[in-house]
Every structure is written in C-alpha cells, then in structure tokens.
Symmetry: D2
Subunit: 159 residues, 4 copies
C-alpha cells in the first residue's frame, strides 16, 4: 500500500475565471494516477489545499501526525515547492518509513506541465528507496537537509 | 550518468496525415526530459524505431550490445509494450547494471498519455533500484522473468 | 439550431493499444463543443464512423439524405479530409441551407491537434455564411467545386 | 489580409513559478495560428498585455486608433472577457470594417482551454460577417451593445 497525502501547492492550482485568479483546487492526484493506469495499491488523502508559502507550523504538525499515524511503509506527499525542504526537515524524525515529497513547477492542468512526470518519478522513488525522507524533483532524489529550491533557476539543487 | 536507449514502440508513435497511418517517429524522450526540467545527468540514444512486435533476435542482440558497451551503471530503455518482457529476459545476463524498461500504452503525443508518468517512474526506478533487469509500468516494478502484459486488460501483471 | 453530422475521419481517430492501430472512434464533437462552452443551440448526430477514403457512393447518399431531411438552416459536417471536396460536390444541389464541411489533419485526441480550432472555425462559418456548400479548413473558406487537398503540403488550396 | 491585434486577457495568461502567480504573458496567437495550420493571409500585432479589468480609456483609445489606422477590412482583436463589450462599444464608430473580439475563459496554455476553438470561431466570423463590431464567444456572435458577460455563469448572454 502506498499512502498519498496531498497538501496543495502549484501542482493543484486551477485558474478561476470568476476571480481572474489562480487558486489551489481539488487535488489532481487521483486523476493523474487513474489516467496513467497505475495499478499499484494506493490511497489518496487530501490533507490541506495550501500554497506552500502559507503553510504554518501547525500545518506541518498535521502532516507529521498523518504520516506517523499511517500504517503504510511508503508515503508520498505532494507539496508546494517553495517550502518543500522545510516540511522534509520537519518529517526527518519519522525514520521507519520511506517518505517522498514531490510537486511541480507548473500546475498539472497546464499543457506540458511537469506534474505527471514528477508524480511518476516520486511514485517509483517511494517504492524503491530505503526508509528516510526525500525530495523527488527534476528527475533527481534530494536530501531535504542539504538541498534547496533555486527560485531563479526554477529547480532544486544541492546546497 | 543515466543512459537512455530508445527502441520505438507506442510511446514514439506519431500520426502521419499523408498516410492516414500511425508510425513510430523520432523518439520523444529528449522532449519529455526537457519539458519536465530533468537536471539529472543523462544522455539519450535512439537505437531503433520499431513497433516491438517487429523486433527481431538481431534487434535484441543490438540492444544487449549497446547496454553491455555502456559505461553507465543506470540504463533506461524505452520499448514497445508487447514484447517488453522478452527483451527484459534477453538482457538478464547483464547483471552488473540497473536496467529498467518502460514504454506507454498511449503515444506520448496524445492528450493524457501515460508516457510522461511512465518515463518519470522509470527514471526514478533506474536510479534507486539495485542492479538487475526490471519492467517499470503501471506504477509498479515487475521482474520480466515472471510477468507479462495482459493485452485485454491493457496492463502488466505478475504471472 | 445548428445541425452537426459526423461521418468519421482523422478528427475522430483514436489509438487502440490492443490492436496497436488507429481507428475511427466515437465522435469527439460533443466533447469539443462542451469543453469549449458552446451555448449556441445545436445537436450532434453521428451518421457513420469511416475514414473518408472508405466512403462509398451509398455513404454520400446517406449524408445527402440526412442534410435534406434536416429542418435546420445551418448544417456542419465533420469529415475526413481526403475526400471532403467530393462530398461537398455531392451536396451541391442542396442550395437552401448553409452547409460547412470540416475535419482535422491531426486527431482531436492528440496534443496540439487542429481539431478544436477547425470546429470553432466551421461553427462560425456555418452561422455567418449565406446558403451554399463550403469547406472550412486551414482558417479559410473554400468552394469544394474549385479546391482540393494538397496531400504533400498537408493543406487545402484553390485549384 | 486579416489583421490580428492582441491586448492581453486570460487567453495569454501564464503561470510564473518564480512569483507563484499568473500574469499576462507574450501573446499566444502566433502559436495558435501556426499550430492549427492557418494559411489565410494574416499578421499579428501585440498592442498591450493587460488583464481587461485594468484597461483604461487611454488603452481603448489606442485600440481604436490601431483599428482605424489599419488598411485591412477584417480585424480580429483578442481581449480579456470582463470588459470585452466595453471595448466593443468604444469601437462602434468604425463601421467600415468587420471587427471581431474574442478571448477565452481559460488560458490557452491550459489543457482543454477554450482558446483554440474561440480563435478559430472568431477567425471565421471576421471573414464571413458584414462590417460591424461583434463579440465572438461561446460559439455565438454577440452585438456588444446589447450583450454582456454573465460572470457567475462563465458565459456571454444577450441583455
């Protein structure tokens, strides 16, 4: 069983014409997994719908509690990229599970979004990596304690 | 360095209006990797452009030779799904590398194709799994010696 | 009321993995019109599902009868491009209606297909043009009696 | 010659990861017309890049001047939907040309956007309609003096 927790972020952003704005919408993960014929046993739970810049310490505590309470050994978390490494660090005490964070730089609903690739990438990483906390972005596995998002370059890099 | 070899298959099929037919075209892998901001070091080599039902023993020998000649420890092969496990078995003697085969059930150029997800999935699998030969499809890792494509169901299953 | 008759053609082609082939599928017109928030009154009827190279004289008679039997003044017909002008000529006796034929060079289900643009283009043409028979392709209105598809160039041109 | 003026609006909105925001980007019109194999003679000029709620009287004067200065009989204007009818009214004195305004409710770069359909629709309308000013949205031709956008319903309606 692969446990998928969604927290929001760019991957789930939708454009609302009525507001001429872009908001975090319902999670796209069930659609992404269904469209890609994923048959590995999994379940998806939407924990929150937030831009990661808006995540509070209480939100991170909620994420940690959900991970700790899960009986699944493989935990995939979708998350905004701006504070992904912070949440990764917050999860670092939960060392008996393989925990992989991913997200996207372009909303899943945009043409040529990196969402499907990144979710696929994270979905393999969470099954194949040993217990630990990882950021899976840009086709690479990062350790959140020694990596960060380079906003200007639009990618994750090692410190 | 991740070595990517492409052999054709549905993932690379394009629709040619001039023929009212669907053929294996130029590989889509460089586009898929670029569009998804993959920064892991990699190189892509197009070995052949064939529907996997048309692959001959000589083609499989060519694939095995290319894998054996590579100095990369991680080899990703895109391949038609119909004979993917056969090629996987043919590669099974090359046990010092991690070799992952993937492909798609819908061409990469089709809306909602499973191509980007599958390539992302395989791209993590090839980095995270121990040496061996694997089929990475449907969000799962299969051993080609004890799995097959269920054509009617449109998915891979264990024997 | 805009009457939409579908006959098949590339616009409705789908890729069937089980056959590794491309066939004319269920018409995509209702999806195209719904996705694009079309609120003009219309109805869609699938007359046949054929590659236009396979259309027979009997098929063209069926199309002409359906057009003649319709009480709508605006008739939009989706059709394969290879024999679109032939069907246009066969319809030329029905001079009390505005009849517009369109189709696409790439299946509607392919990324960056010309299907949505062409259907939009034809949907305005059928409302705005005077009675007559027209081919609406490549952003242009053609008279089927004096135009043809240039297969090599992948576009319609005047004779 | 079809003269295309772009002014911004949702159709040209892009998601900027660096800002976690959505802005009006470079116009998508040249890409839309090229991808859809439009061969009708046309030229595209980007007049401004604004959300239509931000258009000022001076901007509308600029649009009117550009239309008046064009020697083309067919003028297509892409525009945000929120104040499209206002710009249409401002153009109503220019009665010797066929002027068609269109836009989209979803950015062109989003999957299943209405942009390509709407541009196709407007591209035929501008060629086929008599001189006058029109709003071409939702598969219908509207007179901007007696129509408006129903924001809640996400569509244009007659007053």
């Amino acid at each position: 069983m692969i446990e998928v927790f969604t927290t929001g972020g760019t991957i789930d952003k939708v454009y609302f014409d009525a507001l001429s704005e872009y908001h975090v919408g319902e999670t796209t993960l069930p659609d992404i997994l269904a469209e890609n014929n994923v048959h590995a046993p999994h379940r998806v739970t939407q924990l929150m719908r937030k831009d990661s810049l808006e995540l509070t310490d209480a939100d991170r505590a909620t994420i940690c509690e959900a991970v700790a309470a899960s009986d699944a050994p493989h935990i995939l978390i979708t998350h905004g990229t701006d504070t992904m490494v912070e949440t990764g660090k917050a999860l670092s005490g939960l060392t008996d599970k393989t925990i992989v964070l991913t997200g996207s730089l372009q909303p899943a609903r945009i043409k040529n979004s990196d969402a499907a690739f990144n979710v696929g990438f994270a979905f393999a990483a969470v099954q194949a990596l040993p217990p630990g906390v990882y950021v899976a972005m840009n086709g690479q596995i990062f350790d959140p304690r020694v990596s960060h998002k380079d906003r200007a370059a639009g990618r994750f890099v090692n410190d």
